[in-house]
Amino acid sequence: MPTRRTFTLAAFGTALTAASSVSGAVLAFVLGPLRRRAPQEPMLLDVGPASAFEALRAGAAGPEEVLVERAVEDGYMTRRVKERFAVVRDGRAASGLAALATTCSHLGCGVSWDRGRNAFLCPCHGGVYGPDGAVLAGPPPRPLTRLPLVVIGGRVQLDASALDA
């Protein structure tokens, strides 16, 4: 014979199971963005003709900012976004060039090249990076993200597969 006690336990148990099932489904949805996509294929984005960066490669000019457009998956849509990179000299790369993301490694503000100070400056918390992207001053914990540039058929290409990883 069921007692009030067993009824109460069963009722609570059932309610708890139902509530946690619903919460679980909602939680799985809310936590969705944590799932990372598999590493993408190499994605080459055109940066410009190699001739445009001759002076830079020869060390006769400073970093050059370029805009690169790519498609990113953003929530429910795929958007074409423009991103700003700085093309800098890189003696170790075959192309002699590398791209730096102009996103501050501290909290993501956009850094810009300041010719007068020969440095990348972040307007938010005072981060300063050298022409090679190394931290010179301020709170940034890491250098600017460096991405390889390759020259294919006279065009400089940015390998963007490492972005968003």
Binding site: P33, L107, G110, S112, D164
Partner: protein, 538 residues
Amino acid sequence: MKRLFEFLESRASLSSLWRAFADEPVSVRRAWFFTLGSAALVALLVQFASGFALALAYAPTPDHAWESVKAIQTRLPAGALVRGLHHWGASAMVLFVALHMARTFVFGAYRRPRELNWLVGLALLLLVLGFGFTGYLLPWDQKAYWATVVGTRVPAALPIAGAAASRLMAGGPTVGAATLTRFYALHVVLLPLLTFVFVAVHLLLMRRHGHAGPTDEPDPREPFFPYQAARDGALALALVLALFWLAARHPAPLERLADPTDTSYVPRPEWYFLPLFQLLKFFKGPFEPIGTAVLPGVSMLLLALVPWLDRGASRRPRDRRLVLAAGGAGAALLLGLLYFGALDTPKGNVSGLDPASQPPPDARLLGGFASYERRGCASCHGAEGRPAADASPNAVGLAARAHVLAGDAVAAHVKEKGAKPAATEEDGESPDKDIPSLLAYVEALGRDGPRFSALPQPIRVGGAAIDREDCRQCHQLYGEGGRKGPALQHLLGKRDRDWLVAHFKEPKKLVPGSKMPSFRFLPDAELSAMSDYLLAVP
């Protein structure tokens, strides 16, 4: 009428409820101090009402958010007023919650048996800040975007779950469409529900234990109605009037559409997050989590523990010197950070509907500045006509010189000494056609020494391009130029950057019968900068 009240009393005991509410005994001394909480409640009601109205016309997608807010601000009836109320109401919320909390702290009103209500109040403070943080992303303008980029990256440096928390907040690796829908859902569904529940509990607990009253005897009481109700009402009325005045006189700002590529923008958060923002400047590299998590977390924990740390018998300030000193030091620190954060906030942001932004310099001067740099004038005359302190004795400064040489002599000097501009002029234009602008710039340098290098990049680049492309041949700019086309002024509000760029590329497509040539040969970045410049011209 009498029968209606009798009906309501017999079916819902409404009159008895009202009596219980109105007859609650409240303190007579320090009575005005006990109006701060109700002012916060009034501000919250303003937020609920105005927020509901805004949600009717708002679209939480990156493609439409800014546009819909702009429509609210400029086209929809009473839109600017409602948005102004919501904008200023948000600040009022934070202000009155903070004042109410400071009052409770100084009065020691969190003491037993009101510890739980102190914690509920703390939760409400966090909810209000959560409203602020999720709310100002929604307009999707520059401030919204960049403040959220910073805000969502704050947890990223924390050990273990930091990166995941940051990703969850943004709804993906970067701030975008998913961030907007997330923040919208939090701002209009979850946070209001939680706030409603917590406010209800806060009020019920307050009534359960009654007013704490002043810190010492005597504590005479009177019914809440009418005197305290009148005080609450007076402050509420003053607050609502102030909000209307602010909404009418200082419209809520809407900056340019969010632009992730614009590195010239200087992001600054709303004033109530400025202390936190300022704090982040002090902790470098691996110590960053101290500023982002440890200090704010420890402060909140200490606040939560206050009722258990301060538990003497007397609530009088002189018996609680240590606690009050600690609280005062914390408040002073917060205000100091706010002050220095505000000092460090530049005014130069080029913002769409911000009437306070400075008009840009004349395009000709910017063109001259560009050719000053291109021709290498700075190698002898210094950047912006100011030679460095350790420059050679031959360096001749130009800024604020007593006399200025005749134009012909300067032109000859430029042709002789200045670097020739690269031969990019394809259709037989003189390589020296920039000299008149350069002369105008040098003349301005001698007169009042303007400094252009601190201007936002789009203004510099755009102004120089407008000068180089000789837009003044057909258009008036700052009251000077031809009259074949419309004057280049008051464009803000009528056109936006995307329209202007599209128009530069194909004028006839957007304005049928236009005689303006296409400028599609110019790089996109330059067209965009020219648009920014024109939008900034008053």
